[in-house]
Symmetry: C2
Subunit: 365 residues, 2 copies
Amino acid sequence: MGQLPTVEDVARAAGVSRQTVSNVLNSPQIVKPDTMTRVKAAIAELGYRPHASARRLRTRKSSTIGVRLDPMTNGISGSLLDRFLHALTEQAAERDLRIMLFTAQGPDGEIDEFSRLRDGADVDAFVLTSTVHDDPRTAWLLEHDFPFVTFGRPSGADDRGDPIHPWVDVDGFSGAQQATSHAIAGGARRVGYIGFADESTTALERRAGWAAESAQHLGLDGAELDALSLAVVDGVPQGNAAALHLLGLPTPPDALVCASDSLALGAMMAAARIGRGELTVIGYDNTPVAAAVGLSSVDQPLDLVAQSALELLFGTSGSTIVSRIHSATDPLYRLLTPTLVARTPTQLARVETSGSPVAGNHNER
Amino acid sequence: MGQLPTVEDVARAAGVSRQTVSNVLNSPQIVKPDTMTRVKAAIAELGYRPHASARRLRTRKSSTIGVRLDPMTNGISGSLLDRFLHALTEQAAERDLRIMLFTAQGPDGEIDEFSRLRDGADVDAFVLTSTVHDDPRTAWLLEHDFPFVTFGRPSGADDRGDPIHPWVDVDGFSGAQQATSHAIAGGARRVGYIGFADESTTALERRAGWAAESAQHLGLDGAELDALSLAVVDGVPQGNAAALHLLGLPTPPDALVCASDSLALGAMMAAARIGRGELTVIGYDNTPVAAAVGLSSVDQPLDLVAQSALELLFGTSGSTIVSRIHSATDPLYRLLTPTLVARTPTQLARVETSGSPVAGNHNER
DNA sequence: GGATTTTGTTTGATCGTTCAAATTCTTGGT
DNA sequence: ACCAAGAATTTGAACGATCAAACAAAATCC
């Protein structure tokens, strides 16, 4: 077994020319059925596979998508992006696309990498995650007219009517609304909300979803809603503290909707501790932790997000970049709807049944 | 701005030949300082970057490492592999290597992908994770003489004296030992252990580390150790149940070492519920969850794992595969030592101080 | 100083594929 | 039967880089 077989070898074995072999692979419709089978047999027998780099050199496309691996571990919810990466890799495989990872220090470093990967013809497009307002990365890519999609809508702009670039996102309004609705269906009359302190679209949307549902079905006004909600930094301790605060109010909430599973986990623990283990707590992102502790959570359809992202770049099938003109029938974005995964808290449910709530205790040292 | 510049363009601009430009990039030491600067200036001015695919075609190397993205989300601990992926990507970037992801259904599908990526010259080597006993993947790669490293030692074989392939692993014995030692230092006299039910090297090692430390410093014999330990499937509910069992014994343990953070989280909750919130519980893998709930945990040095993996493939520097001959001075494996991250359970500790209000601000609007 | 090595640079060939144009084979109409 | 038009296939060139060998220039030797 010396060299790997090339088109030349296959051609000789099948008694045809190079180009016909190439046609069998790339333009099957123009080759006669007869020779088709003959060539295919030769390919199978020799175990031929096209040399990816040679093809890329000639066609000037890499069939590869660049994705930056975010250096910061975003705590529990960080796994969301990892799950997205999984989904993207799988969806990409179905189109014979590959995912190439890279890292970079800050936005400037990332733009450097963009430039390097573009000039080296390493990737055909980028998928960006965790974009921010006025992101310099999207600006650079737009300026250099290089294909990309973002997971997360461009904040601030008119992202629906006239999006400045393709994006995919999951409707946070709907997610929070569903969570709230579920709490109400479970008998809650006052649903509290623990959200993010930042001004991101995500943060605003989710709170708005909770507020709208609460206003419509529980008849709460703005002031009451403000009293029932808190905006904090994401994290378990923060969720814990926030829940303790809300539950300590004169008229405390009888359910809690949280903007992340981290916050929800903290809230869950707080509730259990002060003897309110029965309290409905709903998280967001449906992370493994939520599944592990039996926490209801809003699930983002990451498979669909990945699929939609590829559709925006490559069309409904194939692996060739489509230059997209924004049209009414075929918008430049996809807004997907999340679903609520309802769970019964296996862990903490036992707390209430096992009698007295625990006064947890000091750890020495 | 028409075409991207090529070596030809740079050569013309600098008044030299193609090859000299190539030498400046690949063999800087053989080119005269004078022309060197001239060529470099031309490169900078034209913004030239080598075309990766063309180079790959000629050199028959891709400077790319293939990594399979495991389809199953391994619960809380699954993020360990994601963190490894981050580390690997960063380490690879320092050597101008890239990571290419792929997915596959089962070992056979993965071998298919190996074959495809190898034949297409897409990757120079593979990094394998979560290998199993008699793994067909390593067998295939060895048979086809394709470079690879595994994260995780080949179980069963004489992995140290005469390893059948390069591997990197983290010493589970030491990790469990450190965890146990830490518990003893905290005053524990009977340290319980909740481990994995499978027969993997990992499972055996970690238990052995705990057992050795307990035997040496607490004077426990085999029977006592058996009574203090339990082997279960990984997961929060399992950890919970196991902890309840152990803590319900006539002479219960006064600390628990667990083989994963999932188990530890379950154990922690169980302890808190039955009024033993002060119980020392130690997890494994130092996942975000552990950090979030303030759980001491054994941290695997994933940066070092990644770095070592690349060293085994490419030597101490550079991006060219080295065919390695096993020698005593330069072993074919790396066994790394984990470290214990000691934490005080922030969540449960805060209960006792109980009063302190919320850190977050109210949401205005 | 001339022969010999060392060092630096250039030229043709090549990697494996697809494109573009040229060629041969089919088909069908009159 | 003939010729035009289409279908199927073949041939030369090109993608952008590096390799190998040839060449020119400078440094070393006796």
